[in-house]
């Protein structure tokens, strides 16, 4: 019998070829040929090990191992099959491989479960082809809104509905009432950060997925000649930005983990060496696992921006365009995984997810948990995305044991 390391390498081997970029990395966008080829290849793999494979109305692919006693109680595990443009071969994909291999192992070792085990290859999470995220998981739990995708197009101008129909799925989706048979959802994913690597731990047990607030801010000052404008005459928007950035990051550091604050995009105008920037646009990304803290911190940040701009005779415009609440994972499932790690002396940590995942869509509807494995150097959304195969293997083992408890035990 092959060990998990061999099985992971083999499965990743054939699946990663589908959508592989010539330069390395993967591009598998929703409803493209590469996407459909990957789902079809998975369908064959599911069927080859005796799972009943089928698509739902929008293209989520399931492989089911029917439970003997409680067939209508489904223990679901998986992740998304789509990738970002030129991404790696672990983000999303590894969660599907892991669920497939775990269920295959459980079937081979323990036979038929009491409850139904189901691996799911979710159609879409990244939003990298169309401006819509979590299309796959939102359709499972019934929170997708088909009206919202009707008029959206990809960069080539292809309409969402046309792309969906060309891939063989009807629009609007039929018989797509929310699933009521789900008893648990477990998602294994790479960390996409380097906390586990830095702390020398193998398993991250996710307790919360952060809430996020994202802003676009514009500062209107006055463009002036860099030589003929004394300092006291200036309404310098890059200076105002810098004050906002310094003060706010100092406050974020004082607030401490798990708060993170990022000024990712900064565009001063006219952006030339000898003109004082009269206009600057920038973004803020703030995350925390606690909604009240997130609100308090960002409200203070907005107040600080107003105060600094007033002091500098600059007119700010503050646009909060993303406001997602933190999502806690199921406490009992977290505890189960902690016990599994401890009983095996497997190094683990309780941690939050700073990134969004399909699990946050499931969690309000069904007991949900996530398991993280380390990302080498924290790299993700990049061809260099990598995790040591021994760590991938430990992740699959913990997932298999978790699914065993949920599906085989009373």
């Amino acid at each position: 019998m092959k060990d998990f390391r061999q099985e992971i390498s083999e499965t990743s081997g054939w699946l990663s070829k589908i959508g592989a970029d010539p330069s390395g990395g993967m591009t598998r966008l929703l409803y493209t040929k590469e996407w459909l080829d990957a789902q079809q290849a998975l369908k064959q793999a599911f069927e080859a090990v005796g799972l009943a494979a089928s698509y739902d109305a929008i293209g989520n692919l399931s492989g089911r191992l029917q439970g003997s006693k409680y067939p209508d109680q489904v223990i679901l595990s998986g992740s998304h099959i789509d990738t970002v443009v030129n991404g790696g071969n672990l983000d999303g994909q590894f969660g599907i491989e892991a669920a497939y291999l775990a269920i295959k192992y459980l079937k081979e070792t323990y036979g038929t479960p009491l409850r139904t085990l189901e691996v799911i290859s979710l159609a879409e999470e990244e939003g990298s082809r169309f401006p819509y995220v979590f299309w796959g998981s939102k359709n499972v739990v019934g929170t997708a809104n088909s009206e919202e995708v009707k008029s959206i197009c990809d960069k080539a101008g292809v309409n969402f509905v046309d792309a969906m129909q060309n891939a063989g799925f009807n629009f609007p989706p039929k018989n797509q009432s929310p699933r009521t048979d789900l008893t648990a959802f477990v998602e294994l994913h790479i960390e996409q950060g380097k906390v586990l690597e830095t702390e020398g731990q193998t398993i991250g047990v996710v307790t919360d997925i952060v809430g996020q607030r994202r802003y676009s801010i514009t500062l209107q000052g006055e463009a002036n000649h860099a030589g003929s404008t004394p300092m006291s005459y200036r309404r310098d928007t890059i200076h105002a930005f810098s004050r906002i950035c310094c003060e706010s990051i100092a406050k974020a550091q004082a607030e401490g983990d798990p708060l993170v604050l990022t000024f990712g995009k900064v565009d001063p105008k006219p952006n030339v060496v000898n003109v004082v920037p009269g206009y600057t646009q920038f973004t803020i990304d703030c995350r925390h696992t606690d909604q009240e803290t997130l609100e308090r911190f960002t409200q203070q940040l907005e107040t600080d921006i107003q105060r600094i701009c007033a002091e500098m005779d600059i007119v700010p415009s503050i646009d909060l365009w993303m406001d997602e609440a933190p999502i806690p994972m199921d406490k009992q499932l977290v505890q189960n995984i902690v016990h599994l790690c401890e009983s095996q002396r497997l190094s683990y940590r309780l941690m939050h997810s700073g990134a969004g995942h399909d699990a946050q869509i499931f969690a309000p509807h069904v007991p949900t948990v996530m398991i993280f494995v380390p990302s080498i150097a924290g790299i993700s959304h990049n061809p260099a995305e990598k995790t040591a195969v021994c760590d991938l293997s430990e992740g699959v083992k913990i997932l298999a044991q978790t699914l065993y408890q949920l599906a085989y035990q009373e």
Copy 2:
């Protein structure tokens, strides 16, 4: 007899039509048809009022009124005929108009001077077609290096030498030994700032032209996921930039006028909302009238950048690519103009020029001074560049009186 306001409006009227952009503003680049048309029109105007007009080897145009007693002592006045792309109709051009009108007035009023009066329309100052500045004035004083222009091209790929020859000038320029007949150079120019406007003064008597140091700085940190990277793990280059900007501008404000410090260009990478910028490139432009202060301040700035980056585990690269010394104007000429303003109760201020001008090329070789008139809202290098005609007129009057003292008095 027309007054100066009428004459300024008329002269500006016909000259501004040459190279006028359909959208407003002017584009008159070195050795283009518009440039040649403007020089030819000026040549005719000079000749029409009895000045001996001629080009030098590279296309500087002169109009001379020969002195009766000291014909080889030349009092030179003018500015540059080229513009930036879509610039205004005062920067450069008005200095030529003013010298032409002042000499015309002096000739009509006082006849032949003792020393020779010469208006000069300098070929090039802006560097807006080819990457070479002060081509006109540097050829007059003998500091241009023809080797340096041999291999440079404009944006369309046209070689400097070809452009020069097509305009009717030989390369390398012949008989272009530095002029030794210059006794004084007086340049009238718009301020291109709003100090005169803000302070309610009509005439700026320039005491110094600032020295400039310009830097390109790169900061190498680490690009990280905005959600999964705790604050303490980050090597955030936009945060490092912000600290450098805030600390340095605070020091510049404490240092006080005439020091100016500008962070004009900032380019973080990858410049997206949800990635910590792992790389940032930015520029620094620092100016002062005193060389020692400029050196001390920028050396401290370099030290601060190194310290801040060391604290944040960021690798800076500091490239000082422009280092121009401050240039003082001639003290006697400054004093002459101050006396003229005072004797006429004309509001004036002693001030420095924060921008570069042809005068800085002349000053090391011949007694030189500049006269500023106000720029409305400080706007320049822009179609909206404007000065009230009464202020332009006061400028021409002061220039005429200055030239009178220099050319008609023993």
